[in-house]
Symmetry: C2
Subunit: 419 residues, 2 copies
């Protein structure tokens, strides 16, 4: 039997636009992976009447209702009593949970539990209790008339923790099949060209399926298989992933890899090399993306953000005459920046980016979108010259950084360096 | 008369969790500012039956319905015909819009317009046409039986552009009053302490109102006034903003300022100074946050990401003996990094951050959350020593960067340097 889910997010702050409903997105991904169709997202405020209406409309069209929010201790936290009224179920106080909440206040906040929080220990009779190790409000689940209702907290970190720890196991028991996906990550070819190459294949496939998702110059191909077990699904996916990777060739930078920088870090580890970065128009993005990766200090020494031309000379040692002759945004400068950062940091590999991110041309009249990426290695220095076109500044910065990571991962993997 | 709005986002990718519904958030903010209550968000897939159900349920409870998505050229773009069927309005082909779309394809993509795109030039009879200068699909609005329906594109940049250019002016004509807010931005005091200081004031206020929004150690106070005109609302807000800023003192870093780094850039401009950054555990975040600000090259020279200890010595010139004696995460090192980056870049002002972001202690056993922020200036070198506690790595990095910006903006404004 195919389940249909509706996600109801409770919270006036969502309707005021103070925050985006990221909980619904994360829940939808999780439900999708469990083979459960999500047909509706609803957001309603901290209002008992409208929340009741949302629950009533949901129970007519879905057999799994998941709510987020409204489990707090204050008077406008209404989820439990509204749902219990709708389903005719009583709320029961759990003294052991009161004790847990009291202990949490004393341990973490060194303060007595406000009496309001007792409400958080009231739960529907005969429910499955979902513990909350990172907050005070437990969640819960119960079934009534063929409809499963799950109540989760609103704060995203608490919701995510309870989703992983309790909600997914609960839902897994409802589902007869699993959905497993694998993402083939590519950089350097547009979505339409990729679809041309794979159209015949994609149209013939019904399980697994293949879908493309495009970001500026990055295209992710998701292969998705439905089966009775994770192992069976993975066995269906393996040959598909291999065929697609073979068809697309060098533009594939990884499977289930979070981004180009992750591919670079793996490549550096595999070859026992360390890296330094020298960036101008990307303003710190190369460094920030690398240092977000846990354990990256094994392969990343650091870098220089040479925003001013003078800093390219003073800190990276780029020859002042070269800068005068060719300008800050040029191939010789990109090469010199990459070689310079290797010299000053001792890293064997250096990546550089210099370009015009806009909105204006640079002081020499170089056009917006002109970018040079340099790569200094023990085998020589390379450069990729780019015209990324007139785009938004933040898109140009991101794209230039992607090109820098792409040049590096191609060299690390012995692939042709040009796209 | 008070309007009630419902936002319907159309798109299966939202229900699969591929993206978050940021359009609903942005629309809600805009409607809020116009004095229009948003009571419902609904997300439905590219399915005519369920989209029809969503529209029917919305027209029973809202008098403004705004849809996003489903205006594309493919067979699963269903918004216009579904809404027109629901409201009994015909679709009419606009040849001048066909011509515009053709021209757009030729000019930007150097390709002929696919014939599918003709559907995008069909619009409800007698509607107000919303042009789309950054995409191919025009939007539209019409009124039927007291209900206003607005249809906007799904891609967020197109939605946002059409919202500003067409939808907001359309809605402004419906609304009798305006809502204006001003955000008082603070750093360094917790939300509960701020609420204690202002509780009496906040409870007495009904128009304007004052609300607090907390992020890790940043608290934003939003003063909101409802009036018949923007000028009247602003006149109501001025004294409130002054009183709150006076009550809170030095922790206020700006009003309607996007972040601490913006306050720093303004301060540097005002004092005619330039800045360089030296960062370790923040890994490029200081530089990236600064270089995201348009025009920052007037005050920011660049910086060094000295991720490895050796790089602090080799690039920043921190004395090796000092590093040996005190370690990379120490007050002397923070001071030396700030002074060092000034020397190597020529900047009169330098900011540094060194710390342990986790999840593990550093090689000397320094605890997670230990951070030193250095500030080198023509008036001397200063340091803020912090114990930020055991938190998630990304939260610690963000908090450490905030402290660096806070130390700088206090010095720039002649305020006491410690919190």
């Amino acid at each position: 039997m195919s389940h249909i889910a509706e996600i109801i997010a409770v919270g006036t702050e969502l309707l005021l636009g103070n925050i985006a409903n990221t909980n619904a997105q994360e829940l939808s991904q999780a439900l999708s992976a469990l083979g459960i169709n999500v047909y509706w997202h609803t957001v309603v405020g901290d209002n008992a009447g409208r929340l009741r209406e949302a629950v009533e409309q949901a129970r007519r069209r879905a057999d799994i209702i998941i709510t987020t929010g409204g489990l707090g201790p204050t008077y406008d936290d209404l989820t439990k009593q509204t749902i219990c009224r709708a389903f005719g179920r009583e709320l029961v106080l759990h003294p052991e949970i009161v004790a847990q909440i009291r202990a949490r206040y004393e341990r973490n906040l060194h303060a007595p539990m406000p009496e309001n929080n007792i409400r958080q220990a009231e739960l529907p009779v005969d429910c499955v209790i979902f513990g909350n190790p990172v907050g005070t409000a437990p969640g819960c689940a119960f079934e009534e008339d063929g409809v499963h209702v799950l109540m989760l907290p609103g704060p995203p970190f608490e919701m995510r923790t309870m989703l992983e720890g309790y909600a997914i196991p609960y839902l897994r028991r409802l589902s007869q099949e699993v959905i497993v996906s694998r993402d083939i990550m590519t950089f350097g070819m547009g979505e339409s060209r990729i679809e041309e190459l794979l159209r015949d294949k994609m149209e013939r496939m019904s399980n697994p399926t293949l879908a493309t998702y495009a970001k500026p110059s990055e295209v992710r191909l998701r292969a998705t298989a439905k089966a009775e077990s994770v192992q069976a699904a993975e066995a269906m996916l393996s040959p598909v992933v291999s065929e697609v990777a073979a068809a697309l060739g060098d533009i594939v930078y990884g499977v289930d890899v979070k981004g180009l920088e992750y591919a670079c870090v793996s490549g550096l580890r595999a070859r026992g090399l360390t890296l330094a970065t020298a960036e101008s128009c990307t303003g710190g993005q190369l460094a920030a993306r690398l240092t977000a990766i846990p354990g990256v200090s094994a392969v990343y020494r650091g870098g220089v953000v040479s925003y001013w031309t003078q800093v390219k000379a003073d800190v990276l040692g780029v020859d002042a005459g070269l800068l005068d002759a060719h300008g800050a945004v040029s191939e010789p400068t990109a090469r010199a920046m990459a070689e310079g950062v290797c010299k000053v940091t001792g890293a064997p590999v250096g990546v550089s980016v210099t370009g015009v991110a806009g909105p204006d041309r640079d002081e020499r009249g170089v056009e917006v979108g002109t970018v040079y990426v340099g790569l200094a290695t023990p085998e020589g220095t390379f450069c990729r010259a780019l015209d990324l076109g007139r785009r938004r500044r933040d898109i140009l910065q991101n794209l230039a950084a992607n090109h820098a990571f792409d040049l590096l991962r191609r060299w690390l993997n012995g692939l042709p360096l040009s796209i």
